[in-house]
Symmetry: C2
Amino acid sequence: MKADAVRGHLDGLLLAVLEQGPLHGYAIITAVRERSGGVLDLRTGTIYPALNRLERVGLLGSDWDAVGERRRRAYHLTDAGRASLAEERSSWREFTAAIGSVLDPAGHVRPAT
Amino acid sequence: MKADAVRGHLDGLLLAVLEQGPLHGYAIITAVRERSGGVLDLRTGTIYPALNRLERVGLLGSDWDAVGERRRRAYHLTDAGRASLAEERSSWREFTAAIGSVLDPAGHVRPAT
DNA sequence: CCTCGATATGTTGGCTGCCAATAGATAGCA
DNA sequence: TGCTATCTATTGGCAGCCAACATATCGAGG
């Protein structure tokens, strides 16, 4: 998978892995990697600025917790974040349907949801 | 749909619409728009440089044909282009599977290929 | 005790690749 | 005589992700 394939879909990924509970940055990277079967490997230079941005616009909240001497910042979804995640999912469906129907016009007919 | 959503998937789109026969640039834009149900609306500043690039690397060939006084450049797939299209399709599948499994881990389980 | 890899957070600079804006020409219709 | 559709093409800009870098704690093994 080429490096910056997640371009334009990063926010959705971050919101999605936080849906089931708070995680800190490093754990988010691990979660995305595992849930994608090892295909998606996000970099710190990618997610930390993104997490800050999502918090700034109110989709995420964060709390510092201490593990021994070490500090972790655990991010969690806000209500706005949950709503945004729903939007990301529906626009993802629209996106894949659009590209898919051009890429493979015959093969992507699907039963109505 | 956000403007530059096709980022990273443009080549596949162009190759795919040319699979069934040669088209000129303007017709490619129309074809993509129609096959995507009006969702994807490529700009000339997007496709003309892309078509040139694909020709330069040998995935497309082109011929000028005259319609009255007007000149059109019809692009067609080369053998390498056809092979590349197959690769684009499989990497598209990998891509959607990866993002999909993170975005919606429960809902995209599919029978083994 | 000391080193090394894993864990953990963050910043900066740069580049890729698409878009918006612009330009110009033909053709047909009202 | 315009106005819209058809048709090709270039240029500048910038969003957004990554690579590289910087820093620190922790546990395990030698």
